[in-house]
C-alpha cells in the first residue's frame, strides 16, 4: 500500500530557504576551514572576482522544440538534451523501470509515473505520479496511485495524458489489467477502472483513452468530469494478434493513431469522431522489399512529423520474430500519398563508455580530427539503431539511438542529412521524446 509522504517540492522549498540563509555563514565556514589548512586568504587583489555560493540553474522558458528527453532503463533516468547546441540541460531521476514522461501542452509541468521499494530492490512497494516543475526540473508534488503499475520494457503506452491535459491514465497489470486515473490539475487520485483483457493506454480525445485487447480489438474508455468511468466501448477486432500483431509502439498523427504490424501493415485509427474508426490497412513494404526480407523492428521504431505528414520507420533485413531487431535503415513515407520517399542509411550512433562518448582527436588538426568519425563509420561494427524520434517544428531534427550506447546521431529530418553525434551521459538509449512543439 502506498504511504503518504510530504510532497517533495515543499521539502525542497524549505531546503532552498535554508541554503539562502546558510550561504552567508557558509563563506565564513569556508574561510575558517582554509585558515585551518594554513592558508591565508585574501579577498582583494585578485584578478578573478570572488563568486557566490548556492546557486542552481533553471531552464529557459518556454522549452525549445529541439529539446529531447533520452531515457535509460538501466540508470533509471532521463537526460534532457538540447540538440542544437549539443548540450546536456539536466536530468530526471526516476524509479524502477519508469517509462515515459507525460508532458501537457498547457502547463509548465510534466508527470512521471514511478515505482519505488523501501529497500531499493526489495521491501514495501510505492507507486506515485510525480509532478515536476518543467523549468526547475524538480518535483513539486506527487500523487500516490495503487502499487499495480505495469512494469515492462516498452518506451511508451504505459501512461497517457488526456487531450485536455486534465487526466493522466496509468496502465496497471497484476496480471489483471486496469487504469489508474490521476487528476493532474487537482493533483489527486481519481480512481481505478477495470479493463479486463485490454492493455496499454493511448490518448484518444478530450477525456478518452484507447487500449489494445488480446483479440485484436480496441477498448475505448471515456471519463466524466470527475475522472470516473463514463463509458467503455469495445470495437470489432481489426487485426489478428496470432497472425500479424501490431506493435505497442504506435505513433500519433493528428487525430489518428498509426499502429504498425510485425509484417509492416499500417492500421490507422481515427479518434476524431464519437467512436474510433479503423481505416483500411496499407503496407510499408512492396513485393521487392518483402523478397529482400525487409522488416520493421526496434524498441521505438516509429516517428511522425505531424506538420509535414512524414512517417519514419526503422527497418532491417531479417526473418520472422525479428520485430525487436535493431534497424540498419530509416525509411521515410509521405502519409498523404502512402509512398516511400526516402531510404536513409543510418550512421553509427557512436560508442559510449560509462556515460562518456568514446571519441578522440576532435582537437587534432585536420584531417586527423576526422579520424574517430571515419573509424566509426567505416570500420567499427554498427550496433544498429533501436530508437527513432523527430522534433515537431518547422525545422525538424531526427534523432536515432541504440540500446548499446549512450550516444545519439542527429539528422536533418527533411533532407535525411547526418549532422552530428551527441552524448547523453546515458549507458543506453531506451526512449527518446521530443515533447515540445513550436509555440
Amino acid at each position: 500500500m502506498p504511504r503518504a509522504t510530504p510532497a517533495a517540492g515543499r521539502v525542497r522549498e524549505a531546503g532552498r530557504r535554508a541554503i539562502a540563509e546558510g550561504a552567508v555563514g557558509m563563506r565564513r565556514v569556508l574561510l575558517r576551514a582554509a585558515a585551518g589548512l594554513g592558508l591565508a586568504v585574501a579577498v582583494a587583489g585578485a584578478d578573478v572576482p570572488l563568486e557566490t555560493l548556492g546557486s542552481t540553474e533553471r531552464l529557459r522558458e518556454p522549452p525549445h522544440p529541439h529539446w529531447v528527453f533520452v531515457g535509460d532503463l538501466l540508470l533509471r533516468r532521463s537526460a534532457l538534451l538540447d540538440l542544437d547546441r549539443s548540450t546536456f540541460l539536466g536530468m530526471v531521476s526516476s524509479g524502477f523501470l519508469s517509462q515515459g514522461i507525460a508532458v501537457p501542452r498547457r502547463r509548465a509541468e510534466f508527470y512521471v509515473p514511478e515505482t519505488y521499494y523501501s529497500r531499493g530492490s526489495r521491501g514495501e512497494r510505492t507507486d506515485v505520479v510525480t509532478i515536476y516543475d518543467a523549468a526547475a526540473l524538480e518535483p513539486v508534488d506527487e500523487v500516490a496511485i495503487p502499487p499495480r503499475r505495469a512494469i515492462n520494457v516498452l518506451p511508451s503506452a504505459n501512461a497517457a495524458l488526456s487531450d485536455d491535459d486534465r487526466f493522466l491514465a496509468v496502465f496497471n497489470m497484476t496480471p489483471a489489467t486496469s487504469l489508474s486515473v490521476v487528476d493532474v490539475e487537482a493533483r489527486s487520485f481519481a480512481g481505478e477502472i477495470a479493463t479486463p483483457g485490454c492493455s496499454l493506454v493511448y490518448a484518444g480525445g478530450e477525456r478518452r483513452f484507447l487500449m489494445l485487447c488480446a483479440d485484436g480489438s480496441l477498448l475505448t474508455v471515456t471519463l466524466d468530469e470527475a475522472g470516473q468511468e463514463a463509458g467503455k466501448l469495445r470495437s470489432e477486432p481489426f487485426f489478428d494478434p496470432n497472425e500479424d500483431p501490431v506493435t505497442e509502439k504506435a505513433v500519433r498523427y493528428g487525430d489518428r493513431w498509426l499502429f504498425v504490424s510485425f509484417e509492416g501493415q499500417v492500421h490507422a485509427v481515427d479518434v476524431s469522431g464519437d467512436a474510433p474508426r479503423v481505416e483500411a490497412p496499407w503496407s510499408l513494404l512492396d513485393e521487392a522489399d518483402r523478397e529482400d526480407a525487409w522488416r520493421i523492428g526496434g524498441i521505438q521504431h516509429l516517428a511522425v512529423h505531424a506538420a509535414s505528414g512524414r512517417l519514419y520507420s526503422l527497418m532491417h533485413r531479417g526473418g520472422a520474430d525479428t520485430h525487436k531487431q535493431s534497424g540498419s535503415e530509416l525509411w521515410v513515407y509521405d502519409l498523404g500519398t502512402r509512398e516511400r520517399t526516402q531510404r536513409i542509411a543510418l550512421h553509427h550512433p557512436g560508442f559510449s563508455f560509462m556515460g562518456d562518448t568514446i571519441e578522440f582527436g576532435k582537437s587534432w588538426p585536420w584531417p586527423f580530427n576526422r579520424l574517430s568519425d571515419w573509424l566509426l563509420d567505416s570500420v567499427a561494427p554498427n550496433p544498429g539503431l533501436d530508437v527513432v524520434a523527430v522534433t515537431q517544428d518547422a525545422e525538424p531534427l531526427l534523432v536515432t539511438g541504440s540500446k548499446q550506447s549512450g550516444s545519439l546521431a542527429v539528422y536533418d529530418a527533411r533532407s535525411g542529412r547526418f549532422l552530428r553525434r551527441i552524448s547523453s551521459g546515458n549507458f543506453m538509449v531506451h526512449a527518446v521524446q521530443a515533447p515540445w512543439s513550436a509555440p
Binding site: G15, A42, D47, L53, T87, M91, F360, P365
Partner: protein
Amino acid sequence: MSRFDLWFAQSARALARRTSRRSFLSRLATLILGGSALPLLPVARAAAQPRAPAPGEPDPATPAGDPESCEYWRHCAIDGFLASCCGGTHTSCPPGTEMSLVTWLGTCRNPADGKDYVISYNDCCGKDLCGRCFCQRNEGDKPVYYPSKSNDINWCMGREGVIYNSTVAIVVGVATES
C-alpha cells in the same frame, strides 16, 4: 581534451614503449589509438558556442580556460562530474539539484595571473550521478580522515537529499603563503 583523448594518448605511448619493433600492427594500432607523435592541439569544439572570456581567466578556447574541460585551471583538485557538463555551470548547479553546504577546498594556480586561488568544490545534490565529464585530478587531495582536503567524500551529506550528481568549482579567495 576528453578523458578518452587522455586515455588514448597514454595507451599509444604505453604501446610504443612496449613494442620493440615497429611492426605493421603496432604502427596501425598507434594510428588508430591516437599516436603519441600527433600534436594534441586545443581547438574550439565543433558544436560549442564561442564563449566570452571571464575576467582574469585564461582564454576559454584553451582547456585551461574552458569550464567544460577537465584541464580547466580551477579543477586541479577535483574528483567528480563537472557541473558545467551536466546542465549547470562551473559556479552553479544543474536544474533540480541543490548545492552542498559543506565542501572541500583546493588551491589552484590561475595561469592568467599566476596567482593561487582557494577553490571551493561544492557538490550538487539530489539527483543521481550525471555521468558526463568525469574528471579526477587530485592535486593536494588528502585521505578521508582529513575531510577539508578530501574529494572522496560525498559532500552532499549535510543536505536533505544526499545523492551526488556533480561538482562546481567556485573561487572563494586568493591564497597567500602564511
